[in-house]
Homo-oligomer: 198 residues x 2
DNA sequence: ACAATAAGATACATGACTGTAGCTAACGAG
DNA sequence: CTCGTTAGCTACAGTCATGTATCTTATTGT
């Protein structure tokens, strides 16, 4: 942007609006996202928002779809346990980011619109290669270290489910000890790698 | 109450207010509970509410604490799998009741007050004998059919976590097939009863 | 250099919710 | 029966969000 610019346009403005929408959704929580608050946070008049969107949730959806992609696990070849713990660590960090909390604000809203949630899953999640532990589990299954028949929807969801619940109960990050406990006591047994049965 | 009564007092009035608060919280969702809406639903003036509470969340907490206790699992002695599935069924039914959705509305609120959530756990949950699958798992551990060392916080949370996540993803009841899958593919393996290892 | 576009700064009526206050009349206890 | 309590009714000013409608002016593209 040139030096003397006083007025944002195009991408620069959109980025500011998107950032404001995600932060605002994260702070305000389910069902409390308003055009007014987004506009204030982005320091732009409401009319600029209404020019493009008629509903704050549509705006938020565009904002989430536009965000930088989430960091992905990089599974190796010989440390399934460590890679699973690392994937859960990534998930925790993401969940506490504005984007993660904004997603929560959509999913946890009992007045949520089914189409809206479907759009979230398509545009934001499907664009990535699955969720955190999923990536790792599929990787090791492809390398023959996990029976692919074990990777059912339940098992692929295990880590994320336990982390989510713990975060909701505590309202805080579960901590690495707990993540290791999840891997050792839930995920590994479920794929037939129970440490206690060795 | 006598026939000609035109004015509710004491318990009758309180019950109406409590019911209104729980239903309203369930419908409105996290952070959207208002004195006004509770008062309208209970058909009482706001001043009656303000006489006793200064915050709608305090009111809701009293309402939840006052509710009829949740149905408990009745584990037998020889059907661990069936009892676990039944416990998850009970949990699903509770989760979709107004009380369950009201609890969700508290826990999923990012602006939630830590003291408030703590009070919820103490006054509402602790009063019961633990959560759904917990009751069953502890019962069978006492009868020597499960190694008590296996009943870690992670394992005791498994069923509830998977059900919660599934409900958040789908926005609907998981269905009995899924509940059975949770028991077979997650809980039983975690307590060393993996059907695939027999 | 000019014209089209769109950001920015208002203003407005409407509607929800807040917290407080004052009044009346029904109810319950003594 | 009488009196203290309190439900029920109404009103108020204040705050916040909504959608729409101006008007001005910086910026861009031709």
């Amino acid at each position: 942007m040139a030096e003397g610019q006083t007025r944002r346009r195009g991408k620069a403005l959109l980025d500011a609006i998107y950032a404001a929408a995600v932060e605002e959704a994260a702070d305000a929580g389910p069902g409390r996202l308003t055009m007014d608050a987004i506009a204030k946070r982005a320091a732009t008049p409401r009319s600029t928002l209404y020019r493009r969107w008629s509903d704050p949730n549509d705006l938020l959806l565009d904002a989430l779809a536009d965000l930088h992609p989430v960091e992905q696990p990089h599974p190796g070849a010989d440390d399934l346990r460590g890679d699973l713990v690392a994937a859960l660590r990534l998930m925790c960090d993401w969940a506490f980011s504005p984007a993660g909390r904004a997603v929560m604000a959509i999913v946890a809203n009992p007045r949520r619109d089914a189409d809206h949630v479907a759009a979230l899953y398509e545009r934001v999640f499907a664009a990535r290669g699955g969720t955190f532990t999923q990536t790792v589990l599929r990787h090791y299954a492809e390398h023959g270290q996990i029976d692919p028949a074990r990777l059912t929807p339940v098992v692929l969801d295990l880590g994320e489910a336990l982390v989510t619940k713990r975060m909701m109960d505590l309202g805080a990050d579960p901590g690495d000890d707990y993540l290791e406990a999840i891997v050792d006591q839930a995920i590994l047994p479920a794929i037939g790698h129970d440490p206690a049965n060795r």
